[in-house]
Amino acid sequence: MMSKMKSNDRAGAPVAADTTTAVQAKGRRKKHLLTFALTVIVAWGLGTFAYIYFYPHLLYNRIERAE
């Protein structure tokens, strides 16, 4: 009986380790995706505002340099 249990424990150990690694990897992917998505949203919003705000300055600077 004892030897049977030991045998089962040994067999189960790699499976548990694999599952833990997979869960950790999934968590890391989720974290990376969240960081990326949040950065996109912030850059999109701020970038849109900044482009509209600075558009006249950029345009007139370009015209002045061209003259």
Partner: protein
């Protein structure tokens, strides 16, 4: 394989967000240009540019549409890319802009009708004429009306009233300096550009 880090997430996010911002901002500015214009007879005009205190979106739209625009009291600008029937102006067709007697744009300075190609550039032509106006010797008709011939080849016996057009799509600017009160009030409308027969 490179490992993803927070730095790479942020850098890639900024790049993607920046590209999206560029296109979004241009869409918004173009929408504002359309919204601020009034179009009658194919001629679009705005009287909102050049004034201090305008919102940032209006300032951007004015800068893109009419760079360095004057106050409306100093100058107004009409643009046309379509004829009176709504068809795109193209040098394959001949057009006439007919001002009825007393129907020229009222002003205290001068007016000018300028030709531009689809990229808003001046159009090379055999008589080096890039615009016509109240100082270019336009010949009126017997009833006092004025016809301006807008076409690629010279109109027979009307060359003095000819504004040369390119062979492809083109646009027209009508500028009026120190415009009259009826222009500033929005009562004056430029006649449509009509395709000749």
């Amino acid at each position: 394989v490179r490992r993803r880090t927070t730095i790479t997430d942020v850098v890639q996010g900024i790049i993607v967000g920046g590209v999206l911002a560029f296109f979004t901002a241009n869409l918004i500015i173009n929408a504002e240009i359309k919204a601020m214009q009034t179009t009658v007879n194919g001629w679009s005009i705005t009287l909102k540019c050049g004034q201090l205190g305008s919102g940032i979106l209006l300032r951007a739209a004015c800068a893109k549409d009419i760079p360095a625009a004057n106050l409306p009291e100093e100058a107004v600008y009409w643009t046309a890319t379509v004829d009176g029937a709504g068809h795109t102006l193209n040098g394959q067709h001949d057009y006439v802009l007919h001002f009825p007697p007393g129907g020229l744009p009222p002003n205290d300075a001068f007016w000018s009708l300028t030709m531009g190609d689809a990229q808003r550039r001046m159009v090379a032509n055999p008589i080096d004429r890039y615009n016509v106006g109240d100082r270019s010797g336009l010949v009126p008709n017997a009833d006092g009306s004025i016809d301006i011939y807008i076409q690629n080849t010279a109109p027979t016996s009307h060359e003095s009233n000819w504004l040369p057009a390119p062979t492809g799509d083109f646009m027209l600017w009508l500028r009026v300096y120190q415009p009259g009160a009826v222009i500033l009030s929005g009562e004056y409308h430029v006649p449509p550009v009509v395709e000749g027969k």
